[in-house]
């Protein structure tokens, strides 16, 4: 199965190795991500001011372009997913035809169809199936107690994202179980890490991130797994001095379990080096 793939700027550059890992893991599990040509920045965050149309043009172009290539657009970054899905929803709201037409005129590419915006996790759950993922596991993550951190952008606003229960989602926990790991209980699955506040209010982002980590550890988690490169950064980098736990991107664990070599897992993106931890759990052999 091939999917039109939108990496987004962070995964294309700073988190390049996470992107590479994700593609290889996809192959292991049975689907292919085909990057769409000449995509542009999605906007990184959805602007909610009711007249702010200009901010949406970038995403409109991506959606139009993707629509010429297929009917599903897969993203890996929670932020890109959030923006693209919300722009798509707004474009197609009944009663928004005037706005839609104005946005379309700004973009050269024509819409061939309405594209279904999907997150990589949704592909795994709905199209591949966690049972099939489990079959492809060659290195079960036995004994790995991991807290699944979804972050806020994956689940809210819930009417648009329609991704699991916004208070206690289970999708990533199920994935962890399929990979042989032990998802731990966790009360902060969808509480914000501070997000982009890290730029101007690092202190605030640090407080928010620390609370998340503390709760994960209190429930016995030895590691945290995330779906957003910014959440991964905040949780991983901002707790200087605290005794820390590794913060993985979910594709790293997916790749690890389905037999990718450690060099292929993008550990250079991790601030807290997860290798010693994984070795101690016997998961790198």
């Amino acid at each position: 199965m091939k999917y039109v793939y939108y990496p987004g700027c962070t995964l294309y550059t700073k988190a390049r190795s996470l992107d590479a890992c994700a593609r290889k893991a996809a192959e292991r599990v049975g689907f292919e991500l085909v990057e769409m040509p000449s995509w542009n920045c999605c906007g990184a965050i959805y602007n909610t001011a009711s007249d702010d149309l200009a901010a949406q043009v970038g995403s409109v172009r991506n959606l139009a372009k993707a629509s010429q290539l297929g009917d599903k657009l897969v993203t890996l970054c929670a932020a890109c997913h959030n923006v693209l899905k919300r722009v798509d929803d707004r474009l197609n709201q009944p009663g928004n035809e005037v706005e839609r037409n104005r946005l379309i005129t700004f973009v050269d590419e024509k819409f061939e169809r309405r594209v279904q915006v999907m997150h990589y996790l949704e592909v795994l759950k709905n199209d591949v199936g966690f049972d099939k993922v489990k079959e492809k596991v060659t290195r079960p993550l036995a004994g790995l107690k991991v807290a699944s951190y979804y972050g806020c952008l994956m689940v809210r606003p819930k009417e648009v994202l329609q991704f699991d229960d916004p208070e206690n989602p289970q999708v990533m926990d199920e994935l962890m179980r399929a990979l042989g790991a032990e998802p731990t209980k966790f009360d902060f699955k969808t509480e914000c890490c501070g997000g982009y506040l890290v730029v101007n209010r690092r202190d605030v982002a640090k407080t928010a991130s620390k609370r998340i980590l503390d709760n994960a550890r209190a429930w016995g988690a030895e590691a945290i797994v995330t779906t957003c490169p910014l959440c991964q950064y905040n949780l991983d980098k901002l707790r200087a001095g605290d005794s820390s736990i590794p913060v993985f991107y979910f594709t790293q664990l997916l790749g690890l379990a389905t037999g990718l070599a450690p060099e292929e897992l993008g550990f250079d993106c991790n601030s807290f080096d997860p290798v010693p931890f994984l070795e101690s759990k016997g998961l790198l052999s």
């Binding site: 229960d165 208070e167 209980k185 009360d187 209190a218």
Partner: protein, 661 residues
Amino acid sequence: MKSEVQGPKSETRNPKPRVGVFVCHCGINIAGTVKIPELVERVGKMPGVAVVKDYKYTCSDPGQQMIRDSVKNDQLDRVIVACCSPTLHETTFRNACAEAGLNPYLCEIANIREQCSWVTEDKDKATDKASGIIRTVLAQAENDQPLESIVVPINKRALVIGAGIAGIQAALDIANAGYEVVLVEKEPSIGGHMAQLSETFPTLDCSQCILTPRTVETGRHPKIKLLTYSEVESVSGYVGNFRVRIRQKARYVDFDACTGCGLCMEKCPGRAESSFERGMARRKAIYRLLPQAVPNRPVIDPKSCTYLTKGKCGVCAKICPTQAIRYDDKDTFVEEEVGAIVMATGYELFDATKLGAYGAGEVPDVIDGLAFERLLSASGPTSGEVKRPSDGKAPKRIVFVQCAGSRDSTQGMPYCSKICCMYTAKQAILYRHRVHDGEAVICYIDVRTPGKGFEEFYKRATDDGIQYLRGKVSKIFRQGDKVVVWAADTLAGRKVELEADMVVLATAVVANPDGVALARKLKTQIDTHGFMTEAHPKLRPVETLTAGFFLAGCGQGPKDIPETVAQASAAAAKVLAMFGSTRLTHSPTVAVVDEEICVGCGNCERTCTYDAVKVDEKRGIAVVNAALCEGCGACAMSCPSGAMNHKNFTKKAICEMADSF
């Protein structure tokens, strides 16, 4: 909505009926928009109108007298009152006509207020429309025939569904007046949720102590036929003449042989979650709800009984001194005939696990109000000692969360549940009575204390050192062996994080789902939230729009015990008023079948929502049960042959009305 008026028989005096039209000003409600003098002049010119008068408040005594006098003096054959909606005064004016000797069904209302003067500010348009409306009603009146009210016999026996405090009170009131009552309760014993409470606000009366005298009286009353562990299967018939089929569930215990000694319960090895204890304890497979159960007879829960599920054990049968165990028991059915039905099916609490951010179901020390009542109750699972469900220790700090699922259009019910502010204050006070160094924090949005002694009770709570923190709780989660609550202090304008040993959620009061299912089965009205709908929100709070069905208690809407008891007695009064009259009358403006034309296609039977018309298989024609017919006209509309008509609203009349506008 139908006016049922008894009046004398009267023939049409003249071949072309003489119509009197009375135009009401209704103060400025009509006269402020409709030009009355012009309207009177136009009406006076309409063919058939013998006299036209106008008056400021026609519904007043002098107004009605004016109509009565005109009927006599002007020899009127028809009366039209152009005024407000018929739902208000049709009965008033029909009675006035009857008193003057004119058949009341020859009096019609032309609504020139709600349908005319209240929907426009344009005086010319209003006057034109008023004139048109009167012309159509004129056409109707000319086609009207004198009718007699239908007499319906009454079976002076009542059915009360639900034996919580509402059902008990209603049953006692009706029985004490000398009529027989069948009281049906789905649980093995009576008392409802009131039996689960520890103390009641604002007096802190022990709930069992004030309830048990009533339950004992009910159990012993010679006029009350108590059917517990039973459910209403179906109701057929009509007001005054209902036939009720009741399922008596298999108890597996012989009611008459059993003495209630309780030996079986001591030895039973079976266990199940006790719904009476609200998840705070388990019970045996053979059980009774509480030690003071009325009737004092246990039942066996077939799902948790080792003998009934696996064929092993049988200890209770062996140990019973009167051999009262009956493993081969089956559900049985009884048929009862009654004239009136009181629905008192009560309430449930909103499922707290639906409030995802509150941790209910996940954190054992987060419980709802009724579960906490069980912990407070002296006959409860902890003998009245407040203990944490997780480790049995006494909590030193409890956070009470109000509005958990109430006043919430996004995750819960949009309405206010009325009783929670008071019972939360009560629970906090009682907690502090038991745990003297315990700290209680109540997170609230408002504190609603509308009843007698309620505000004083709230002050008693704050005087006791209970802290009220104004802010709706956002999130509750476990941290170690504590429970963390994310709250707010909106009065100080900041977020607050609380660490508690236990959290009690005052969850929304919702209609008992079994009551909702029953209402659907019986086709009585319920609102979008499942509460039973009263006939009029202000003036008819204990009746329904289905004749013969009355309501009482929380099944109609959240309320406390004094209001419940008042409403139950009110419902009983309505039943007694019905039983006290010699006969029941039903409006005669019902459907009527032309038997020559009818082919028995059955469209009318399928259309009727009142089960009032059925095709007689033998004769091959539709037959209308006039006592059940509410005169809605749906069957006449659905009849393809034109056989079905509606008295005083015939197709001929309707066509002439439409043409005349």
